[in-house]
């Protein structure tokens, strides 16, 4: 009753959900950040988008490093 799936499968799924999703998120926010190049930085909405994407990249990197730590790579 304590386990739904074997420990190895659970670890793999967690790694996929954390590291995989975080890596995709980093790519997603880098692409969206790149699309903002040349836009008017005095526009508060553009500034907020830029800040949000940078923070998204930071959080994504935290996720990738966490997944690597979880698997003993880092």
């Amino acid at each position: 009753m304590n386990e739904l799936v074997p420990e190895g499968v659970f670890r793999f799924l967690i790694t996929l959900a954390t590291g995989g999703f975080s890596a995709l998120w980093v790519v997603h926010d880098i692409l969206f950040l790149a699309r903002l190049r040349g836009k008017d930085t005095r526009d508060p909405l553009i500034r907020d988008q830029r800040f949000g994407y940078v923070m998204g990249i930071v959080m994504g990197l935290i996720g990738v490093v966490g997944a690597l730590r979880y698997n003993g790579v880092v």
Binding site: E3, T18, F51, G52, M55, M59, Y70
Partner: protein
Amino acid sequence: MVSTAAPTGASASVGVPHKRAVSPWNPANAVTASRFLTLPPLWWAVAHGHHQYATLFLLICGLFDKLDGLVAKIFDCKSAFGEVFDAIADGLCYGFGLILVAAYGWAPVIPVVCVLAFGGVNTILRFVYAARAGRTVNYKSYAMERIVGYTGYLIGFATSGTEVRYFFWAIVPVFAIILAHDVKRMLVDPVPA
């Protein structure tokens, strides 16, 4: 109580002001409300040390969060009440989850207190901003949207035992920076027209 939805489809294109009444008793809000049903089993799983079950119930809660927007689109029942209800459900579910994992020693207490405090401050500031702006529009912050997602994940890290201390302590400075940015936007910067 009836909320109004923005006009859609052909009726919106003819230029005639039209507001369609949307009952709060709609499928999207039912999905949002059903998230609360995952909290008792989550508590049971944490209390009995079932890490995988706790993670599963949290995952179901998160899936419902994503599903309600989709249901609102399919059934065309988007409303201002639905948006507020969704935000309230987010706060209650994530707040409950964070308190739960900290109470049972699955997560460090200090970062949990910080995250809850930051979230509380942000909620108060949104009310201040709404009063300042003179309208109840939802304050959109790209960074805050991302940190809310991270917070949901955070509970999952605790239930699954994934680098718990690392993830919980890492969110504190990031959240503090985002909150400082939003405080400036909400209290100092001019309100966009």
